[in-house]
């Protein structure tokens, strides 16, 4: 039985996939990840929720016709967040329904992240994701980010 850390790009792709689609690359990736996890379940961290919310808010601004969502977000973050409130609520409900385990950012996670930055030299954000995964006892990480291939204790389930 394997435990799998679900990186933001995996959750994002799942939540932005076409409803009811069966044979696309996102569906194939999801099927492979769920198959690999068996009954071991998925793990996320606060970082995943942070990144997910931010990237979705930008995506929704673009969906609504904004050609420069980053500038819009920076100019009036409160307005952008309020406009996204209803859609974010639906997203949190969807994420909650998946019964994922939330790995807290404990002291051990921070120390592990520091070590991963030093060796093998992960980028800070990747180091924190990997540290959460390792502290949660994961042996898999569902991610399109090749940076995690440097972590010997994690096998990446790629799209």
């Amino acid at each position: 039985m394997s435990r799998c850390y679900l990186d933001t790009n995996f959750i994002y792709a799942h939540l932005r996939a076409k409803r009811g689609a069966m044979l696309g690359p996102v569906e194939a990736w999801r099927a492979r990840v769920l198959s690999e996890m068996d009954d071991g379940g998925g793990v996320i961290s606060g970082l995943v929720l942070d990144e997910l919310a931010y990237r979705l808010v930008l995506a929704w601004l673009r969906d609504d016709g904004d050609g420069d969502p980053l500038s819009t977000f920076r100019q009036d973050t409160r307005k952008a967040m309020r406009a996204a409130r209803r859609r974010l609520t639906a997203v949190w409900r969807a994420v909650d329904s998946l019964s994922l385990e939330l790995q807290p950012t404990e002291h051990a996670v921070v120390e592990a992240a520091k070590s991963l930055m030093a060796q093998p030299g992960l980028a800070p954000r990747d180091a924190f994701h990997a540290a959460h995964a390792l502290e949660a006892g994961c042996d898999l990480i569902a991610s399109s980010d090749t940076g995690f291939d440097q972590v010997a204790a994690l096998r990446r389930v790629a799209p």
Partner: protein, 112 residues
């Protein structure tokens, strides 16, 4: 299909027990307890059920509930954030997310 969902998380929360504390109380491995707390464990032996039951002070039958289906949740939650624009997910799947949409970078570069 009839499905069973664990109520252990709810019961542990009512007693103010973290996963670690519950594992210690029950004499179980933390990983096992975390899987059960997250409602994912589907193959749990009778000894584990007895230990959890004793640690939480409830009868074994109170440890689960009927009705939930986690596997189905993946199907129903797909597309919950709206359908991606053409090409949007190609970049995500290829690991080419723009650095400009990195929340940490955005925060670091934001004007005071």
């Amino acid at each position: 299909m009839l499905t069973i969902a664990w109520r252990v998380e709810e019961l542990a929360a009512q007693r103010g027990l973290t996963a670690r504390q519950l594992a210690e109380e029950a004499g179980l491995d933390q990983k096992t307890v975390r899987n059960i707390l997250a409602g994912r464990a589907t193959r749990v032996d009778l000894n584990t059920i007895a230990r959890l039951s004793r640690a939480l002070g409830v009868g074994p039958g109170s440890l689960w509930d009927l009705g939930a289906d986690p596997a189905r949740a993946w199907e129903t939650s797909a597309g919950s954030a709206g359908e991606a624009r053409p090409g949007e997910l190609d970049d995500v799947l290829a690991g080419r997310w723009s650095e400009q949409t990195d929340p940490a970078l955005e925060r670091a570069l934001r004007s005071p």
